[in-house]
Subunit: 334 residues, 4 copies
């Protein structure tokens, strides 16, 4: 009766997803995992009692025990794996980005549009975060009036050495791009990126400050800072015509000691967004049962990559860049 | 492969539990529900796709598809139903109180002790609340030093007309009695209850203020107020030798409008403790699989009722009352 | 045109007051200081450009350049010095306690009543604290309804070795006694003191927990803890029929670093109540000009000492003690 | 012994200053007030017991009883009045702007430089606000590391109908320009202004979003919103290499009622910055006594106007504008 899920990629995110699916997602059975690192895949399968291990993601997609696929493999592999799922007619939850390239995203959109039904969900998990959902609900009550500006900060304690300046946008700020589109129900039209002088020999431009302008005349600003040291911190303030909505979740317990009144800041996104990740998975599994798509669509995945691409242009040019997007197919109408 | 759960009682709590079991508890299947109100039971069974409806709780306990039982029927029925589960060798999660009478609790303890293994869990869900767990974890780090005092407030927006003065203790403050024992790893020895003049024709003594003294010399004070009007509010501060731990969870979103900076207060305990209830159910179902008991035991249920009984004496007498408890059987050693 | 103020006692509080008077109280001139420690008095006089140094407080009271007197000398000297001020017809601001003995307070009340006009103010500075004043204003709007309970905590980082168990009441909790009377406009009728086992060889009973019952049926509870280590912390929650008012001032700046979101806790009462002390002095000096008494009266000083005395009885007896107070002379009607 | 102060301009700010000087600034005597509205000036003089009323500001400057001058008259009059003070050798506290024109500011700077000693203070009162001072002190401890970004919001409940788009910069954001220079000890080099579509027939561009880039490579962003409706709100977050400092002062009292946990937002800047205004006046009066200048200098006033002028250019052009500033005379070295 359970839906057989296959997880492609057993790195940090794939492992987390597999454990959550196996341990606390109702209606899901972990049918298979796959990874090019066979040892890592086998270890995860043993720990989660996954049904089967595949060396190859495409073999996993083809596995008849796999009813739906979760993709958490390296970014460049996403497009082809999602296309394989579409060919197989299997629902797929793909970690962001849908594809690192705008063209790759468009190929997925085209394939899904040709298919005529939505099978693809992109893992923008913030849409399932209780905090962001509360902001959206509060906005929809109208008490604060129409939205005007959205201020965002997105900080990580530290980034791996391989992180380059573009990844602050494509890997981090892309979450704000998606959440801004979702909260504002608006499309980003142009972008400006302000850079500070590099502070390390590597030349990493960190932090960066983005200003996004939307079709309907709103502004979104994003501080993205991947070596903020003190912890993981994601906050936002939505400024409306008659009031503001502030998302600034705090740990439920405060400690007073040694002259300080303090609460803990999360170490990383997995702790901060644990409920969001779980909710996303449960909603996805439930949506497979009902056939009603939820979460970010392939189109949202395309919009995020296209907007991110404009930000990368703006980062290099130092001037305002325009977001170029195609017309949205009717499949993605709300 | 799922564990078949039977839910006895389909009032507010029983319905909530059944829906949670059916919708989001991994490894559980809702095998049966029962209620003396057959219509209400059938409606719930339909909504949750429960396997079967029993008119009688004892028939549900005997149902071979029922592997474990959740009791949410009226308080006076708890004892006999728990004893039936013990006779049948089936794990049982019983909503508090284990029994309204001290003697009833002791009969359950005696039966379980005779059985020689723990099958009974009492539904003190706060032990599974992320906030209280954070307090306990923080306490165990030792950073704040040894605990000295625990201040508690427990407020409901309103109580039903049937609520009497004793129920502020047996129904509400009993949660603080359990959580104080759990947090402090200590037993309450004597109790004093301060009463304010009744404010309504019904003579309801609301709020009340309890001061509990423990064996190891700590103090616990509890304001219990069941018609606080503004909302449901449960907070605590644990004062230790070198610092304090404050549990005061806040909604993640703040609204600034009309001259106010505000956040929402929960309407009732179901909203406030939603995560606690879900976590409790998942842990209980998981514990059936592993065979390792979790949560409040029958002994904890007895201690809560015995301490509550002393509070009721103290409420009437206006003076300090002593908690009388038997020796704890070895089955309940940590 | 300025009012000449004489300050008796040049310890921590007297020095603070003298500096504030000299540096930032409009309309006040520091006419004289006195102390039995002549060297300390001279040093302060030099630092504050005080007009004159007296070895004796009574000489200061008699000094024709001294229009009004601030008493910050040791507690046992207060009564006679205040009586001298009354004899001289000079306004006096006396640090609490008005007198450590109930009889001493009554002698001051009798002398002032005989004089027929109010010259005595007692230094319960919290009545001038912006926070407590906000609580009172909020209460008076009626939005929260009638008051029912007042929860208080009063913590010091550490107490000097000379601090004994009674001083937790007479020196610390006496502030809560006064502020409760002022906020509730009510008189305390009976008191209970809960003690924890002493934790040091000195046998100091710290913390203590007081429960005060008022004539109009309200409850006030006070945790007083003079070796709380982490800092100075004074907070309160006033629970009313339709809502609660929480006084929990926070430093205006929060630091996020090293995994913590933190703000500073004050080191001591002088930092925490700096505005209250300044406001009290300005209001006192202004009141000398207008002739309209403000702040805590001699009667309030008597009530605080009488209530404190009952608490000391309750601390020793372990049972509820009754506060014995005389009838209030009409001079002290609001 | 008091310093005779003359206040020019008896509008809202001038009246407030006069009352504060008369009522709570030690060492100051209100020697005179002046206004072109003689009636208003006389009424204020009566209320504050000011020594004399002048119809003309220059006559006030010349008044031998006036030792120092506070200018709160309309902006275009500032320059000539300040120059008159310099000619008379009298200390002057001039409300911002020092002059609406860059050239006007430079003329004041030149005159003061020629005089060779600092007599001019500009009324950027935030430098005396306990909150901003705490931020600066915390920054100087080094605990958070070197500053990188400063996020600011500056909101008014409503602006008068006469407010035009440029005034959001010259009247409001100019405070952030000054405080950023003071906190960061840095000079603003270029500015970008993002505008949202006008929402009213008047065409007022409100809110606006400024991004300022400094010589030392820091970014400052400012949301300025003069019709935010809900109240007056000024907050900031200073992001540093190892942590962040957040200035977000809250009212000391929280009310829980009607399902909300709320605190008050200030109505206007006078309530929000009451302590800052008082501290500024006391520090100015004290500085006259000591001869050591404090607060924002004429140079700071020039820098604020010059930076504001660049922002106005940027607002019109829609592109980045460069701030043009002269070399700083040695008189203004720290």
């Amino acid at each position: 009766m359970s839906i057989g899920i296959g997880v492609i990629g057993t790195g940090i995110m794939g492992s987390d997803h597999a454990r959550t699916l196996a341990g606390s997602i109702k209606g899901a059975a972990l049918a298979a995992v796959s990874d090019t690192d066979a040892e890592r895949a086998s270890a995860l399968a043993a720990a989660t009692r996954a049904g089967r291990v595949h060396a190859d993601g495409f073999a996993l997609v083809a596995d008849p025990d796999v009813d739906a696929v979760l993709i958490a493999s390296p970014d460049p592999t996403h497009e082809d794996l999602v296309l394989a799922c579409l060919s197989a007619g299997k629902p797929v939850l793909c970690e962001k980005p849908l594809s690192p390239s705008v063209e790759g995203c468009l190929r997925v959109v085209a394939a899904e549009t040709a298919l005529g039904r939505r099978l693809v969900q992109v893992g923008f998990m913030r849409r399932f975060d209780p905090g962001y959902r509360s902001v959206r609900e509060a906005l929809l009550t109208g008490e604060a009036g129409a939205p005007l500006l959205l201020h965002c900060v997105h900080r990580n304690a530290s980034a791996p050495p391989s992180f380059d300046s573009g990844m602050l946008i494509s890997n981090s700020a892309v979450h704000e791009i998606d959440i801004a589109r979702w909260l504002l129900e608006d499309e980003i039209e142009s972008v400006t990126v302000f850079r500070l002088p590099a502070r390390t020999p590597s030349g990493l431009l960190d932090p960066q400050f983005l200003v996004l302008e939307t079709r309907r005349g709103r502004l979104v600003d994003v501080e993205v800072f991947v070596n903020a040291r003190y912890g993981y911190d994601v906050r936002a303030e939505l400024v409306c015509e008659a009031g503001t909505l502030t998302l600034a979740p705090q740990a439920p317990v405060r400690l007073r000691s040694s002259g300080q009144d303090s609460s803990r800041v999360a170490e990383d996104w997995r702790a901060h967004f644990a409920a969001a990740y779980r909710n996303q998975l449960q909603a996805w599994v439930d949506s497979i049962g009902t056939g009603v798509a939820v979460g970010a669509s392939a189109w949202d995945g395309y919009a995020a990559t296209a907007t991110g691409a404009a930000c990368l242009d703006a980062l290099q040019s130092g001037t305002r860049a325009t977001v170029r997007m195609q017309e949205r197919p009717a499949l993605y109408d709300a």
